[in-house]
């Protein structure tokens, strides 16, 4: 078994072409918080990947969830973290993928370019530990906000070109009135920008 990544939460191993993801104990958190979070997130992650994969959305193929060790087994995507490979043309594909997620009632909860893998030109979404079911406008807006902020912060030079492409693709694929979502998006931004900052 080879360790292929140590993220902020999990250690990711490779075994015979499969990925094994295990959330590691965080010594800074008390046991009650830590074990509860890890269990909840790993279960949610596996459940979501399974659901999305069955609906044909671009996520790794789920293999199994090992309840005892709280490990997620899934297909390995032979690609690279989008964070280091992001280009403007990826934005459109991401917009469509997120709309697909939302059309299926799933909110990702942690949308950044670190949680997308690029293989050739194709993108895969991973890391569903903070995902949940919702069809509420404000929850969809929360995902859009996270991704927008990820672009603005980490990919600032590309932001002006990429964001409109992303949002346009999302808008044309989301099976819901976009206006309602957009109102919440603006609201999150205002709140975040104008929380009493001193």
């Amino acid at each position: 078994m080879k360790t292929i990544a140590v993220g902020s939460e999990a250690v990711v191993y490779e075994n015979n072409g499969l990925i094994i993801k295990r959330r590691v104990k965080k010594g800074y958190r008390i046991r009650e918080i830590d074990s509860n979070l890890r269990r909840k997130r790993s279960r949610a992650e596996f459940r979501t990947i399974k659901e999305l994969y069955e609906k044909g959305i671009s996520v790794p193929r789920p293999v199994k969830y090992a309840e005892k060790t709280e490990e997620i087994w899934m297909e390995k995507i032979e690609g690279e973290r989008l964070a280091e490979r992001f280009t403007e043309e990826d934005a459109k594909q991401i917009g469509i993928m997120i709309a697909d997620l939302h059309n299926n009632g799933i909110i990702h909860g942690d949308l950044t370019t670190a949680n997308i893998i690029k293989k050739g030109k194709k993108l895969y979404i991973i890391d569903f530990g903070l995902s949940y079911h919702s069809t509420k406008d404000e929850d969809m807006a929360s995902d859009l906000f996270l991704f927008k902020n990820a672009l603005k912060s980490k990919h600032n030079p590309l932001y002006n070109g990429a964001y409109p492409l992303f949002i346009r693709a999302y808008k044309s694929h989301i099976r819901k009135e976009f206006k309602g979502i957009d109102t919440h998006l603006k609201d999150i931004e205002t709140r975040r920008r104008y929380n009493e900052s001193y």
């Binding site: 902020s8 958190r29 008390i30 709140r191 975040r192 920008r193 009493e196 001193y198």
Partner: protein, 320 residues
């Protein structure tokens, strides 16, 4: 080169002096209202009343007179308007009177610069936690970028509001910390993290409902454990995302020992560096404004008005 910096964004009025990049004076006074948060006009009145005295103390400490100062700096924002005006008008007056340049400094950038100076960390992630501020900031593409932030209230406000509901006078942070040390039983609370952002309003409501039903000690303990875990988790996520390897915690809430312990533990588990900065430079202070003003000494700023909503990521950083 002597730089004199004035901090007056909120309830602290501070004057610091640097000789080049070395702090030689750091004097301040903080208004402590008897109840509730800051009342803007009271804070300004406090600053106005004590300005001359604190300025005098700082000059004395440095063995300097006003005419020896080569550069003046003031905190331009973000902050509350009446407070900001005191520092802005005093520094503008001094700069005109002595014919020296005036630099407007972003308060959050100043926190980060003084943290770098005193920890020696070259490129840390900074968790900035104070009354109204809860941000995770780091240097990226020539800017200080806010990667994570509270989507509603600041951590200090959460502690103060909760404290007030439990009958603890403002500021409640230190008393909550003491109570928390005696807490034994963890009460599960809403843990709300969104990417690298956090949100505290859910937990605020939750806690307001259990006051009186659970012991103060257990509430304080559970509240701290929950919100600090969220903050440290968001910081760790930012480190992983930006591929950075060190953390510093600053702002008034950085005085909390448990928060620092958690930061240190998180870093040691991911082989990253964690450094504490002296509390004198973690809370609001004039030295950080002087020091950052010194770093910015070659800037040509056209706009020296106060900026109550000054965003960290709009400051161009060209001295790094």
């Amino acid at each position: 080169m002597y730089t004199l910096g004035i901090e007056s964004t909120a309830h602290t009025f501070g004057v610091g002096i640097t000789e080049n990049d070395r702090v030689i004076a750091n004097e301040r006074d903080t208004l402590k209202p008897l109840s509730g948060g800051i009342i803007p006009r009271e804070a300004a009145a406090h600053h106005f009343r004590l300005a001359a005295e604190i300025l005098g103390k700082a000059l004395n400490k440095g063995g300097l007179r006003l005419k020896d100062i080569d550069l003046f700096a003031f905190s331009q924002g973000p902050g509350i308007i009446p407070s900001l005006k005191v520092g802005a008008s005093l520094s503008s007056f001094l700069s005109k009177k002595y014919g020296k340049k005036l630099i407007g400094v972003n308060h959050c950038v100043a926190h980060l610069e003084i943290a770098r100076l005193y920890t020696g960390l070259r490129d840390p992630i900074m968790l900035y936690v104070s009354g109204g501020n809860t941000q995770i900031i780091t240097y990226y593409n020539k800017n200080y970028i806010v990667f994570g932030e509270t989507q509603d209230i600041g951590i200090g406000n959460l502690l103060d509001k909760t404290g007030r509901r439990m009958g603890i006078p403002f500021p409640a942070g230190p008393e909550i910390e003491k109570l928390a040390e005696k807490g034994k039983h963890y009460i599960e609370m809403p843990y709300s993290i969104k990417g690298m952002d956090v949100s505290f309003s859910g937990i605020e409501t939750f806690v307001s409902k259990i006051i009186g039903r659970e012991t103060k000690e257990d509430i304080a303990f559970s509240l701290q454990e929950t919100v600090f875990s969220m903050l440290i988790e968001a910081s760790e996520r930012t480190m992983a995302y930006c591929l950075k390897n060190s953390l510093v915690i600053t702002g008034g809430v950085a005085a909390n020992k448990r928060l620092n312990e958690m930061g240190r533990k998180m870093c040691s588990e991911r082989a990253a560096e964690f450094k504490e900065i002296p509390m004198e430079f973690a809370g609001d202070n004039g030295a950080m404004i002087a020091y950052t003003g010194y770093l910015m000494r070659d800037y040509n700023q056209k706009d020296l008005d106060i900026k109550p909503k000054f965003r960290t990521d709009t400051v161009e950083i060209n001295y790094r």
